[in-house]
Amino acid sequence: MQNDISEELKLIYPRLWRYCLVLTGNRYDADDLAQSAGMRALERSHQFRGGAGLDRWVFRIAQTVWINELRSAAVRRGGGLVSIDETDLPDIKSDPETNLIARQLLLKIMQLPEAQKSTVFLVYVEGYSYKQAADILDIPIGTIMSRLAAARRKLVEQMSSLPEVYTKRKTT
């Protein structure tokens, strides 16, 4: 069982790391958290029921490790100036204006309160259902809805100052 999880874990590791980046807000801690979560998953592979859902299981481990073990240490440790360097993000679209807007949106999401940020990421980026996100975060579905509603209001307000090309794109 551990070997099976190991191979699948390697496949989902980039997504796990990205979630850890969202949780921690910086690459130092994301590296540590992702590696810790991965190791913890391997150690506890006997607890995984198998089948689909390894990603959600490992995401939940990362969430738990962050909340219970690493977050307070990261806050106490502090750090120097850190900044997202937009030139280091690969371009995602061919037109520069959409690139700029996408990066602004990413920044706005990363600046949301922690609870909203992780919920937005799990539902709107990873594509989990409300139920799945609620299981990962160990909260009721109603709380998922509250967080998403609050995040939507904030993002709509903040992104409204951007060029028309963004406001015209809005879908759901």
Binding site: R27, V75, L81, V82, S83, T87, P96, L106, V125, M145
Partner: protein, 251 residues
């Protein structure tokens, strides 16, 4: 009866995400046909989910390989053993509040007390390639500056920023120091040296430009109209002095 008060933002969010039961989805769709107030309420919740996915997609390419060596909790807490590299630092995410603390550079421990010490240490990581490929349209430059200006609480004259022919203006961004926004405006000198003009709200007074060396880089500091300024980069103290005089007069 369709009354927007029956549909909270949470319920409307569930509607937009397709997460409500069929009965409520149908009821809200019917209500939207004639209820303008409900339509408006929905519009204030609409976001671009596709763009969100696109925005986060590039982060997957930044993920390291999954390590096989266990990481102990105690070694995580010991940042003294970490080494920095420019590419690694350049990929971290901005925190809304800056923590005070020790900043490690190339294995040496340097204690930072002042905001400009932090800026200098950060600027020391910049190389020509950090900025050489930065290229914006005039419109996006202006938008970026407006955003920074709004968060900092003061405007910038882009003509003044482009007024030194030896310094090519590249971009602006907002950083943070102890809860205060700190603007960073970056340039590339004709010799390829990254130069930064940073400013932060301050009660400091002092009209004269102070020249010095920070992190082995030429630097100039001054205060004006409720802000402290730092210009830093390269080793040409004469260029920094002339540029400081220009920016102090024109910004």
């Amino acid at each position: 009866m369709s009354n927007t008060e029956h549909y909270s933002d949470e319920v409307l969010t569930g509607f937009l995400d397709g997460e409500l039961d069929r009965l409520r989805m149908t009821a809200i769709k019917k209500a939207l046909v004639k209820n303008e107030e409900l339509k408006l309420k929905l519009e204030h919740l609409r976001i671009d989910r596709e763009l969100m996915g696109d925005a986060f997609a590039p982060l997957l390419d930044m993920a390291p390989d999954m390590g096989t060596k266990p990481v102990s909790v105690s070694s995580r807490n010991d940042m003294r053993n970490r080494r920095f590299s420019t590419g690694w630092i350049a990929a971290v995410i901005m925190l809304p509040v800056l923590f005070a603390g020790l900043f490690y550079y190339s294995g040496l421990q340097i204690k930072q007390d002042k905001w400009y010490d932090y800026v200098a240490a950060y600027q020391a990581l910049y190389v020509t390639n950090t900025l050489s490929n930065v290229s914006h349209t005039r419109q996006s430059e202006v938008l970026e500056l407006q955003r920074v200006a709004k968060m900092l609480g003061r405007s910038f004259d882009i003509t003044a920023l482009k007024g030194m022919k030896e310094l090519a203006y590249k971009r602006s961004q907002i950083l943070g120091f102890q809860g205060k926004p700190l603007a960073q405006l970056t340039f590339l000198s004709t010799l390829g040296n990254p130069v930064a003009l940073c400013l932060i709200r301050s009660n400091q007074t002092g009209d004269t430009i102070k020249l010095s060396t920070l992190e082995n880089m030429a630097s100039a500091r001054w205060s004006k109209n409720g802000y402290e300024f730092l210009l830093i980069g390269g080793v040409d103290q004469d260029l920094i002095s002339r540029a400081a005089t220009h920016f102090k007069a024109s910004l």
